[in-house]
C-alpha cells in the first residue's frame, strides 16, 4: 500500500475506535444516572408517573433486558445511523439534528471565516513591526481572556439595545448573524493571530524573503504572496482546536442570542437528561472532529509539499 493510503486507513480505523468509545461513554452515562432510567424518560423524579406508565416505558425502551443486550442493540442501531427517539421532543433524534444543524453551521462557518480573516489581517499588518505588534498583542490577550458570552452580551447591549443596528433575538437574515459571529470569532482570532504572526516573522527571516526583497518586490507582496503560505502550516495545525472552540462556542452563543441550533438543543437536552439527543450530538461532533483532523492531515501535504515527499 502506498504510504498515504496506509496512513489514511490507520486514521479511519482510529476514527471508528473513537466513535465506538464516544458511543460507549454515552451509553454508560445513560445507565450511570442515579435512579430508575424509566423515571428519567418519564420526565424526572419530580414527575409523578404512574407504575403503568413506567412499565410501558420499560417495554418500549427494552429496559428489562440484560444490560449487555441493551448495549448490543444500542450499537446496532447506531451502525444504521438510527440515534433513537428524543425523550422530551417525541421525535427521532436524527430529525431534530437535521432541523437544527443548518443554523449552527451558518454560525460556525461565519465565525470561522471572520476569525481566520481577522487573524491573517492582524498578523500581516503587525508582523515584524514592534510597536504595532505590542499593541496588537495586548488586544489579542484581552480577546483571548474574555469569555465569548460576555462579548456577546456587551455586543447586544451596545449594538442591539443602545444603537438598534441589529435585531435583539431571532435568526432570520444575515443581519442576525453578525453579532453572534463576532462574539464567537473574537477569542479565536486572538489565538490565531498570535500563531500566524509568529509563523510570518519566522518566514520573513528566511533567505527567500531576502531574495524577493532584492528582486524589488514590495513589502506587502512579500508578506502576502511569499511569507503567508509558510505561516499557514502552524495555523492549519490549530484547525482541530478551532473546531472544538466553535462547537463549544455555538452552545453558549446560541443561548446568549436566543438562536435556534444544535447548541440550544443540546443544552435543553442536558438540563432535561434527554440522553438520546445528548448521545446523538456527542457522537456526531466526535465524527466531525475526527474527519476534520484527517482532512487537516491531508492538507499539510498541499500547504507544504516537503511534508508529502518526506512521509
Amino acid at each position: 500500500m502506498p504510504p498515504l493510503a496506509r496512513r489514511l486507513t490507520r486514521r479511519l480505523a482510529l476514527t471508528l475506535f473513537v466513535l465506538w468509545g464516544a458511543a460507549t461513554f454515552a451509553f454508560a452515562g445513560m445507565r450511570l444516572v442515579p435512579g430508575d432510567p424509566a423515571r428519567v424518560i418519564a420526565g424526572g423524579v419530580q414527575a409523578n408517573a404512574t407504575p403503568q406508565v413506567l412499565d410501558a416505558i420499560r417495554d418500549e425502551y427494552g429496559l428489562r433486558e440484560p444490560i449487555v443486550v441493551q448495549y448490543a442493540r444500542f450499537l446496532g442501531r447506531l451502525l444504521r445511523a438510527d440515534l433513537g427517539g428524543s425523550y422530551q421532543l417525541g421525535r427521532p433524534v436524527s430529525r431534530v439534528i437535521g432541523e437544527q444543524i443548518g443554523a449552527t453551521l451558518a454560525l460556525a462557518a461565519g465565525a470561522a471565516a471572520l476569525g481566520f480573516g481577522l487573524a491573517v489581517a492582524l498578523a500581516t499588518l503587525t508582523a515584524g513591526r514592534p510597536r504595532l505588534r505590542a499593541l496588537s498583542r495586548a488586544v489579542e490577550f484581552c480577546s483571548i481572556s474574555t469569555p465569548n458570552f460576555w462579548i456577546g452580551i456587551l455586543l447586544l447591549a451596545a449594538f442591539s439595545f443602545h444603537l438598534g443596528w441589529f435585531p435583539v433575538i431571532g435568526d432570520d437574515g444575515p443581519a442576525a448573524l453578525v453579532l453572534p459571529c463576532a462574539a464567537l470569532a473574537l477569542p479565536i482570532a486572538g489565538v490565531l493571530a498570535q500563531v500566524t504572526r509568529e509563523g510570518l516573522e519566522r518566514a520573513l527571516d528566511q533567505p527567500f524573503a531576502l531574495t524577493a526583497r532584492a528582486r524589488g518586490a514590495t513589502e506587502h507582496r512579500i508578506r502576502v504572496r511569499h511569507a503567508l503560505r509558510h505561516a499557514a502550516l502552524p495555523v492549519l495545525t490549530l484547525s482541530g482546536w478551532v473546531l472544538g472552540e466553535l462547537l463549544a462556542g455555538t452552545v453558549v452563543v446560541e443561548t446568549v442570542f436566543a438562536r435556534q441550533g444544535l447548541g440550544h438543543v443540546v443544552v435543553a437536552a442536558v438540563r432535561g437528561r434527554d440522553f438520546p439527543v445528548v448521545t446523538g450530538v456527542v457522537v456526531l461532533s466526535a465524527l466531525v472532529f475526527s474527519l476534520i483532523n484527517i482532512a487537516v492531515d491531508l492538507l499539510y501535504g498541499l500547504a507544504d509539499p516537503r511534508i508529502g515527499a518526506a512521509a
Binding site: 475506535f17 469569555p147 458570552f149 460576555w150 452552545v251
Partner: protein, 296 residues
C-alpha cells in the same frame, strides 16, 4: 518524520513540550509591574473566596424598591433585578467561581499525574490502554465532554467542577506521560536503578519531582481556560444553582435586563475576565521563571 533515537535508551526521544495552543496563549509579554499587579489581583480574588464576609455583607438581601439601580454611594456597583447588591454578590460569587475553575484544575492535575505515570511506567498493556482512553477523551471537544458529564451527574457546583476535571485530565495525562518517559530514560534514573534502589523510592524521589514541575506550570496556565469553561457551564444554568451568587450565573440573569441596566452585565463579566487575565499572566511568569532557571 521519525524521531531521532535517544542516545541513552535507544528508544524514540520524546521532548516534553506544552501543546502549541497553550504555549501561544501565554505569549503575552507584560512588563514586571503587570505581573505584580496580576498576582495581587488574583490573591485578592482568592482572599474574597476564602473570607467573603470580610469584604461584603448580605449578598442575598432582596430590596425590590431599589431594583436595577446603577452605581450609587450605598451600592457602588448598583443592584440587580431583585435589588440585591451587585458588589456583595460578586464577592460572594468568588468562591463558587474559583471552586469550579481552580478546583477542577487541581483535581485534573492530580488525576492526570496518576494517569500519565501509570501510562509511562505501568507496563505495556496498561500504558497502551491508558493512552488510547486519553485519545478517545481528547477526540471530542472538552466542553461537550463536560456537558455529557453534567447530563449524567446533574447540574451543581460540585458536578460542574467534576465535569471540567474529566475534560482537562486526559490532556494533563499526555504531558505527564511524555515527561515521565524522558525522565525514565535519563542517566540519573538509570544510575538509581543501577544502584539497586527500591522502585517506589525511584518513583517518588527521582521521577515524580521532575514530572511535577512541568505539570504545575501547565496547570497554572490552564486555570484561565478552566475558569472560562466553568463560567460557561454556570452561564448555561448547569453550574451553581440560584440563588447562589456566581459570576457566570449573574451574567446569565443580566441578559434579561439588558434594555434596563447594562451595568448589570458589565461587572460579573469584568470579574471573570480580570481573574482569567491575572491567572494567565501569573502562570506565564511562573513558566518563564522555570524555563529560565532550567536553561540557566
Amino acid at each position: 518524520m521519525s524521531a531521532a533515537p535517544d542516545a541513552v535508551t535507544g528508544g524514540p526521544y520524546e521532548p516534553a513540550r506544552l501543546p502549541a495552543t497553550r504555549a501561544c496563549l501565554t505569549r503575552v509579554g507584560l512588563p514586571r509591574p503587570g505581573v505584580a499587579l496580576a498576582v495581587a489581583f488574583f490573591a485578592l480574588v482568592c482572599l474574597a473566596a476564602a473570607f467573603p464576609s470580610a469584604f461584603a455583607h448580605a449578598p442575598d438581601q432582596v430590596n425590590p424598591a431599589l431594583a436595577l439601580r446603577g452605581p450609587t454611594a450605598g451600592h457602588p456597583l448598583g443592584t440587580d433585578q431583585l435589588g440585591r447588591d451587585v458588589l456583595a454578590r460578586l464577592v460572594f460569587g468568588a468562591r463558587p467561581s474559583l471552586l469550579v475553575g481552580v478546583g477542577s484544575t487541581l483535581l485534573a492535575g492530580v488525576a492526570g499525574a496518576a494517569w500519565g505515570l501509570l501510562a509511562a511506567l505501568g507496563g505495556r498493556v496498561a500504558g497502551e490502554a491508558a493512552m488510547r482512553l486519553a485519545d478517545v477523551l481528547l477526540s471530542f471537544p472538552a466542553v461537550l465532554m463536560a456537558l455529557l458529564v453534567v447530563a449524567v451527574l446533574g447540574p451543581g457546583t460540585r458536578n460542574a467542577a467534576l465535569a471540567i476535571t474529566v475534560a482537562l485530565a486526559p490532556g494533563f495525562a499526555r504531558v505527564v506521560r511524555a515527561q515521565a518517559l524522558v525522565v525514565r530514560g535519563s542517566s540519573y534514573v538509570r544510575a538509581a536503578v543501577g544502584l539497586g534502589l527500591a522502585p517506589a523510592r525511584i518513583l517518588l524521589r527521582h521521577i515524580a519531582p521532575n514530572v511535577v514541575a512541568p505539570l504545575l506550570i501547565l496547570a497554572t496556565v490552564n486555570v484561565g481556560t478552566a475558569l472560562i469553561a466553568g463560567a460557561s457551564l454556570s452561564f448555561l444554568g448547569l453550574g451553581p444553582q440560584p440563588p447562589a451568587p456566581e459570576w457566570g450565573a449573574m451574567l446569565a440573569q443580566s441578559r434579561d435586563y439588558l434594555d434596563v441596566s447594562w451595568t448589570l452585565a458589565l461587572f460579573p463579566g469584568a470579574a471573570i475576565t480580570l481573574t482569567v487575565m491575572s491567572a494567565t499572566v501569573a502562570g506565564r511568569a511562573l513558566q518563564d521563571r522555570y524555563e529560565g532557571r532550567e536553561a540557566r
